[in-house]
């Protein structure tokens, strides 16, 4: 089962105007490891050419990327109140 099929079972209240994650593309360019590409359980980070792009809409808000990025390139906030992931079972 791929990640899209997994995330399809999760409910999200997407806040279209306000992405809660951003990456500093300059720092990403210098980063060799790009651990964000493998470590995110929702696979939010993708390589678009040689740039890191992100689909923050499917973020489960664990915060792993923020702690794991060796360059400190991930700017990470919680989504606005009421938005973001909404687990029914947890």
């Amino acid at each position: 089962m791929n990640i899209d099929e997994k995330l399809y079972r999760v409910r999200f209240n997407i806040d279209p105007e306000n992405p809660h994650i951003a990456v500093d593309k300059e720092k990403c360019k210098k980063c060799h490891d790009k651990i964000c590409l493998s470590i995110c359980p929702a696979e939010v980070f993708k390589l678009d050419g040689d740039e890191v792009s992100l689909s923050w809409e499917g973020c489960m808000e664990c915060g792993t990327c923020r702690i794991s990025c060796p360059e400190g390139a991930v700017e990470w906030q919680y989504p606005r109140g009421g938005y973001g992931v909404c687990f029914g079972h947890g």
Binding site: I39, C86, G90
Partner: protein, 431 residues
Amino acid sequence: MTERFDVITVGAGPSGCVAAYLLAKEGLDVLVIERGEYPGAKNVSGAVLYRKALDDILPNFWDNAPIERYINRQVVTFLSKRSSVSLDFKNLDYAQTPYNAFTVLRGRFDQWLAKKAEESGALIMNDTLVEDLLWENGKVVGARVGKEEGDVLADVVIIADGANSLLAEKAKLRRPLSPENMALGVKELLKLPKEVIERRFNLVGNEGVAYTFVGEATQGLEGGAFLYTNEDSLSIGVVCTLSGLIREKKEPASLIEFFKADPMIKGWLDGAILKEYSAHLIPEGGIHMMPKLLSDGILIIGDAAGFTLNTGLTLRGMDFAIASGVMAAKAVMKAKEKGDFSKSSLSAYQRFLEDSFVLKDLRTYKNAPNLLRKNSIYTVYPKMICDLAERVYTVDENPKKKLLKLVLDEVKEKTTIRQFLKDLFDGGRSI
């Protein structure tokens, strides 16, 4: 207009709800601020809830709380590629009141606990993110919420915003989290009919079983996998340290797929339907990652304070969260009597924790996080145990050796006697 409360609790998980419940019961004006659509909406847990801490404040809570099953069997399984060895503990007393542990699903359970806080008089404000704390002369005096209401003031703010506590960092009570101290859990909730679960896991009535798996379950990464029975679903997942995931560049979503496909596991999941996928951080650094627990007008409880305990055999968090909520409430009541919410007055919280199992257990197991970060625990020993069992049970044309000789052969094949004795000693000393 700026609203004023006696106490604000940030986060409506078990620790925040319990603190709010107790303080509201004593007549204080308590506001619980929850960023999710409802309490539990952001929360994920294995989840085995050990009974004692909650029973102390809500006696016989299992009679009306949404518990899934009581756990009267706990199994630790060492997995290698083609075999497994289990330590299987079952206790008939655990199948009777007052029980020992339960499985719960946080979406429902946290809402129930928040309802208890509400019934005792606390105000629960959902859909609201605390963006920052409000300070006055170096003292916390309230919370800034991202709404028109603006600021909310209080004598004391209790930080219960979970493992990834941005507020504890903003308050400079904790250094930024490091991958060495954190584990990532990924989990799936799989639906199966109640009767199928009971037949498949040999459960009578509302009995439940909690399995943990070590070794091949995580492809040798530092961590483990779990499978718990709920009423009509299974909670299955993998927990690995961030440092291990970073080193090996493993994808968490594929780890859970790998585990589910294990021949030992696969049969149990036959016909199960995925209902939810989830992920959450777990603070596993123990006493070494404990933040400053309090300052003027502020206390930190639950996961935000790093209160979880992984001994390798049990993984506890919710009972620590609940107990820390109780201690915080006691300390705030004392401070309220004195009308003094300064750091020195609130330091009673630290003393209560020191006298309770929370800090006693974290200190007892102070070496466990280091031990459990050793890669050989996951690569060498599960395979050694499985291979030893294979040598015992395989009957072929070769003459048999006695057990001690088999153990020595295994040890020499996979490590050295010296290293083995050292690991045995470290293990015994740590857990």
